[in-house]
């Protein structure tokens, strides 16, 4: 097992180098002078020259690349052209919102998708089965930004059951985690080095923050804001998970040991959950892992619709306002998260299915 993990980690190195080259090249490939573009039409030559120098643009490309890698390793992703704040700080403030949304969507997808798939397989060819299959086909064919808009219109505007946008109702107050627990807010370095404190970062996870500060009003508010975006974003993985669960269960339910379990008088519930689901679970984990790419990509669209202050919206906003260092930083961070999570998923398969690491 350790050898398998080491091999997987070694395979990660070329991918990480590749990601760094892609994000490095992004800024250099923009046609024209990106610095002029970033600073706008009225930029003075001096300002452009200063920015070019700050970015080390007058060095040969390989030197620039090595500098870039070095600064990334020092956790320095440069500064935003728009706000002049460190890029990592901007990302750190937005990342918790995206993580919360993605986890919410994954939860919705699993909680609805897996039981629907199990039941559809159990009642194979029933009306429920057909409805599940049709629903999952619609799910993968539907643009999530359209579903999001329709959900916001129906449940947020017409029925007024749930808030149609944002993460928190204006006026709902929450202490930060450190305030509530009477902790110091973490080490503070010199102001130029300072990106953000641990408290600032973790307090960005509103669900966690509401729970840890024991603020029930805020928790209810935060969760109600999370529902619609999670359903919209979770719709595609939900469809894929339901479909995979169904086909995987169908295969397993036809096995001899299921008949044996039935013959020895095992209850139907026991057969489904203990004998069948356990064996059907591997392909289901696989699609859950694959769903992550859909979720991170889809978050870009979902966040735009629900005014969700996450990474996805940051990318789009900054592409439109040509704040390229921030775009570059976001692309790098999202790709890194994606790669690391995929690695964890792979390792967890090897853990669940011993056949993998014996290969």
């Amino acid at each position: 097992m350790t050898r398998y993990i080491i091999r997987r980690l070694l395979l990660l190195i070329p991918v990480l180098i590749g990601i760094s080259i892609v994000t490095f090249a992004m800024l250099r490939l923009i046609p024209g002078d990106p610095w002029e573009v970033m600073l706008g039409e009225h930029a003075t030559d001096a300002a452009i020259a200063e920015l070019r120098e700050r970015m080390g643009m007058d060095e040969p490309l390989p030197v620039q690349y090595l500098r870039y890698v070095e600064s990334v390793l020092r956790l320095d992703l440069g500064r935003s052209v728009k706000t002049n704040r460190p890029v990592l700080q901007e990302i750190g403030q937005r990342l918790p919102a995206t993580v919360e949304l993605t986890l919410g969507a994954l939860l919705v997808a699993c909680v609805v998708g897996i039981p629907a798939g199990i039941f559809a397989a159990y009642r194979h060819n029933s009306a429920f089965d057909l409805a599940t299959m049709f629903g999952s086909l619609l799910g993968v064919s539907m643009p999530i930004f359209w579903l999001g808009l329709m959900l916001a219109y129906i449940f947020g505007f017409l029925l007024k059951w749930l808030p149609p946008s944002a993460r928190l109702t204006i006026g709902v107050e929450m202490q930060t985690i450190a305030e509530a627990w009477g902790l110091s807010t973490g080490p503070t370095g010199p102001s130029s080095m300072r990106i953000m404190t641990a408290d600032e970062f973790f307090s960005g996870f509103y669900v966690l923050r509401a729970i840890l500060t024991g603020n029930l009003t805020a928790l209810r508010d935060v969760l109600s804001h999370l529902v619609l975006p999670s359903v919209a974003l979770g719709s595609i993985p939900m469809a894929v998970i339901a479909r995979m669960t169904r086909s995987s269960m169908l295969e397993v339910l036809g096995e001899d040991y299921i008949r044996t379990a039935r013959a020895k008088g095992q209850t139907e519930k026991g057969i489904l959950l203990k004998h069948a689901l356990k064996n059907a679970f591997l392909p289901i984990i696989t699609v859950i892992g694959l769903a992550l790419g859909t979720l991170l990509g889809g978050a870009i669209l979902t966040e735009t619709i629900f005014s969700w202050p996450g990474l996805g919206r940051l990318v789009v906003d900054r592409i439109l306002s040509r704040d390229y260092p921030v775009v570059q930083g976001c692309v790098l961070i999202i790709a890194l998260i994606f790669v690391v999570v995929n690695l964890l998923v792979d390792i967890s398969y090897a853990y669940v299915d011993p056949r993998i690491h014996y290969e």
């Binding site: 991918v15 590749g18 643009p143 359209w146 808009l149 329709m150 991170l296 870009i300 789009v316 994606f338």
Partner: protein
Amino acid sequence: MNSIRRTNSDVSERMGPRSSLFRDAMRRLFRNKLAITGLVIMGTFLLTAIFAPLIAPYDPIKQELIMRRRPPSQEHALGRDDLGRDILSRIIFGARLSLQVGVVSVGFAIVIGAVIGALSGYAGGWVDNIVMRLMDIMLAFPALLLALAIVTILGPGLMNMLYAIGIVSIPAYARIVRASVLSVKEQDYILAARAIGAPPSRILFRNVFPNTLTPLIVQGTLGIGTAILDAAGLSFLGLGAQPPRPEWGAMLGQGRYAVFTAPHIVLFPGMAIMLTVLGFNLLGDGLRDSLDPKLRV
């Protein structure tokens, strides 16, 4: 290019002796009700795109500001948008753009992906290793994010969006073709072709490539649906087709601020996207089941 064109005639030649297999597959396809539904949806979409100027009741870009956001009525079956344009006509003309995006970007990805995958699988060794690592790097980015990054570099616009979506889809096709090439490379008939002195290019395009067609057709059909969805997403964000082009995603993007006051502006373009993608997905699933029962999920 020449060799690729030659492949097509090879395929039809090859279909000769295997025609019963082909006919079998077609019979299975036409017995599949869902696939037929997909085919009908796709056909309608195709005809709409071709005959758009004849079907559309109004000019898709003519604005009538005093009539903005009017709900569906007898004259304007699907209502008018934010600038008073007829939504039905815009959806009808939008079919052209979506078809163009889907077919061109997937075609681009298939051609490049197939060449990369075939060379990589056939050459093996370090070439294969490097090419596949490159594909891994592309797959290390969520597809929509990579497309977004490419559009950032190339600048917003319909054509650039086409390239972006095409480039992002390359690894999927390269992998499919490579896998098929690896599986047939060691077969006896390839050895025989090599023994009679056929050059590698001839073996690749005449003997190896036709075997990769089935998974390519299936993946390509499903891929058009995905490409249409991604394109709609990019246009929705304002990075794809630019106004006043009647692109479905862009219609949603421009209309989204009106969703609470005039929901019809976003309802119908979204339904058009969903129906079209549904059509490609149904057909793709049907093709997979009938062409290659082994792949059935």
